[in-house]
């Protein structure tokens, strides 16, 4: 533990709700009230972080994920020294640079070049370093032509690129990054991630706060899930993402008006109770490997008996077209069901798609009349992990052959979960540093 670069021991931080004294008049009136023996109005507090405890060893990269308001940014500001904890201790061992907002401290009237020097100094870079890295910074940001233009005339993309570029060249021992890669175009985002990988390889300790689970997983081997100011999970990044997604989809299901009120369909004969994903071991999940079998379990309530019910499950990558649409009618199967709650499960042997989040819905109709009885929104997320085998949309079985037709590596065909990604052993868990 003594080598930990970042240590967060039992840290709590609270914020006062409502306004504090904003003018002297308030101070005077509350001061007078106190003199008169009356208690000033009690203030309510919000615990942004409660007893959060973790440490990051030197040279490790750790992601912090969690829903909005979970305390991620507060944790980062505590690490950066901008805030001080109300309880517990934060220890930082090493030169630290925090990228909490790209281009914080830029001044619109100054040119790109002037802002590089100013921002570099703000991030703690010696002037000589900035001078020697100026060319790298500028070419990384791709703003060579605009170096001597005031940044107020920059596009927001250029502004953000220059901001990240400076921070990426600080070469700190500890780098804190907060959700800054949501700016810029896709190419620049990839270069930023690449740069972060390089820094980590060179021994920089990284704490990365993000909503982008893929970016986080590709950079950080370990992650912490914060929920309502508490550590909900700490461990390998992939498991953290799984935990987070499961928790998120459960949170969705806890909102009945959201889930069950709307998707009544045209006739209102059916009502969706739940759509969940179940692994082969029977455990409900929100993420799965593309190579493992997964069940889509639909629970619904019929208000009237249906003689020939067709159930359809659809999957999308985003708001785009369906990637997958399976209905029982095409499989010459209809369900004859009385009124009441029923469960229909669709079993898929594997989902040959690339890593990402996929959204599911369910539709039902009467095969005789064609009347839709249920049409849910695409609100059920399932995260698929292809273990880095492919990019694009599909991740299909494949192998490579050489000229004589000999197969060289059976890359994907016979893959099972155990042979490809051995689950972490207990010994691994014990040495897990962020626990």
């Amino acid at each position: 533990m003594e080598s930990a670069a970042v240590e967060f021991s039992h840290v709590s931080k609270r914020f006062r709700l409502g306004e504090s004294h904003d003018s002297l008049r308030d101070l005077l009136s509350s001061g007078l009230a106190r003199l008169a023996g009356r208690k000033p109005k009690t203030k309510s507090h919000l615990w942004a972080l409660r007893d959060v405890d973790f440490s990051v060893p030197r040279g490790e990269a750790v992601g912090i994920i969690g829903p909005n308001g979970a305390g991620k940014s507060t944790a980062l500001k505590l690490l950066a020294g901008i805030l001080r904890p109300d309880e517990g201790q934060v220890a930082i061992r090493g030169r630290l640079a925090a990228l909490i907002e790209v281009g914080a401290g830029f001044h619109g009237d100054l040119t790109g070049r002037e802002n590089v020097f100013l921002n570099g100094a703000i991030l703690g870079m010696p002037r000589a370093d900035i001078r020697s890295k100026l060319d790298d910074i500028v070419s990384f940001a791709g703003i060579e032509r605009f170096l001597d233009t005031p940044v107020k005339r920059y596009s927001s993309g250029m502004y953000a690129r220059l901001g990240f570029s400076i921070a990426a060249h600080v070469d700190p021992e500890i780098l804190l990054v907060d959700e800054v890669l949501s700016v810029g175009d896709a190419v620049f985002r990839l270069r930023c991630l690449d740069r972060m990988h390089t820094l980590v390889r060179q021994g920089t300790t990284l704490v990365f706060v993000t909503h982008n689970l893929e970016q986080m997983q590709s950079t950080c081997p370990r992650a912490i899930v914060l929920e309502q100011g508490r550590t909900a999970f700490a461990g390998p990044a992939r498991e953290a993402v799984g935990f987070y997604m499961t928790a998120m989809s459960r949170a969705y299901a806890d909102r009945p008006t959201d889930m069950q009120g709307q998707p009544d369909g045209q006739s209102g004969n059916a009502e969706l109770v739940d759509l969940s994903f179940v692994r082969s071991d029977g455990v409900e999940t929100a993420w799965a490997l593309g190579t493992e079998s997964i069940r889509v379990r639909v629970r619904f309530r019929l208000r009237r008996p249906m003689a020939r019910l067709v159930v359809e499950c659809n999957m999308r990558a985003s708001v785009s077209d369906n990637l997958l649409s399976l209905n029982s009618g095409r499989d010459a199967l209809t369900f004859d069901m009385p009124a009441g709650v029923h469960t229909v499960t669709l079993r898929l042997d594997r989902l040959p798609v690339c890593s990402g989040q996929y959204l599911w819905n369910v539709r039902m109709w009467d095969a005789d009349t064609g009347t839709t009885v249920l049409d849910s929104p695409f609100r059920f997320p399932l995260v698929i992990d292809d273990e880095g085998r492919a990019t694009g949309i599909l991740c299909v079985d494949h192998e490579w052959e050489t000229g004589d037709g000999e197969s060289v590596v059976p890359t994907y065909a016979a893959a099972s979960r155990d042979t490809i990604a051995p689950a972490p052993t207990n010994a691994d868990h014990e040495s897990m540093p962020i626990l």
Partner: protein, 274 residues
């Protein structure tokens, strides 16, 4: 424990001295950007005020006899206005320094002292520029009036006077910057009181010295011996009144210690209270 804290504060500040230089430079750059005359304003501001007061007190109303000033009034006024402009513009910057840099206060960590210090730094550069014109004025009046300049050892005391002024400004600047962060009223109060202070600090008119109650109150103003010290050393070639100057130095040191310690204690709440 406290001593350790202060020491850490100083070493931390030293580590960030380049940032201090950069922010000082930024203040100057922004102040004179898109301005035709640029840094010349550092001279023009006290110079034009000197001309205004010279006109008022030597032409518009005949106050010269009342003032009993034995040096050319323009010189008297200018040598008061240069350190005064340093004082008022520098502190005016300090008052706003934290609030105007809200983005940096909430998003980046470095010692928050840098904000008021950089304001003092940029007005110090203005002060140096304006001082060069003082030399020009002295050469002019040396030849054009009964007043004459003599090299004398009291000139060596000027850097000490300047040092005391900076110490006074650092202490006050930190208190003002911090106070304005918590209570925005401070800025308004500062704007009014700095106007009044100018007329009770012997900047352009001597303070009353008739033993009245007002005179006694004004005597408590540490700026009176300070600005008097500049005049004594430079115009009169004599050391300032040491009792008055020691008083000013004492006030400056107390304000520095109190202001800095308080600022450091409060600085971790800046980001959430701003």
């Amino acid at each position: 424990m406290r001593a350790v804290t202060v020491q850490l504060g100083i070493t931390e500040l030293l580590r960030y001295r380049q940032l201090l230089a950069s922010l000082t430079w930024r203040d100057l750059r922004i102040r004179y950007k898109q301005s035709v005359l640029g840094i010349a304003w550092a001279v023009l501001l006290p110079l034009s005020m000197m001309l205004v007061f010279t006109f008022v007190f030597t032409r518009a109303i005949d106050a010269r006899a009342v003032l009993r000033i034995d040096t050319p009034y323009a010189l008297y006024a200018y040598i008061g206005l240069v350190p005064w402009t340093f004082f008022s513009v520098g502190l005016g910057g300090c008052v706003n320094s934290l609030v105007a840099n809200r983005n940096l206060v909430t998003k980046v960590y470095f010692p928050r002292e840098v904000f008021p210090l950089s304001c003092i730094g940029s007005s110090f550069v203005d002060f140096l520029v304006a001082s060069t014109v003082l030399m020009g004025l002295m050469i002019y009046f040396h030849h054009a009036s009964h007043w004459s300049f003599h090299w004398n050892p009291a000139l060596l005391f000027v850097p000490i006077v300047l040092g005391v002024q900076i110490i006074l400004m650092v202490g006050l600047g930190m208190l003002l910057a911090m106070a304005n962060l918590f209570y925005r009223d401070v800025r308004q109060i500062f704007g009014v009181s700095i106007q009044l202070t100018m007329f009770v600090s012997a900047v352009v008119v001597p303070v009353p010295n008739d033993g009245s109650l007002l005179a006694k109150v004004i005597a408590a103003n540490p700026l009176v011996p300070l600005i008097g010290a500049y005049r004594d050393c430079i115009l009169h070639g004599r050391l300032p009144d040491m009792i008055g100057f020691a008083y000013t130095t004492g006030v400056a040191l107390v304000l520095l210690v109190v202001g800095w310690a308080w600022f450091r204690r409060a600085s971790f709440r800046f980001a959430e209270c701003i």
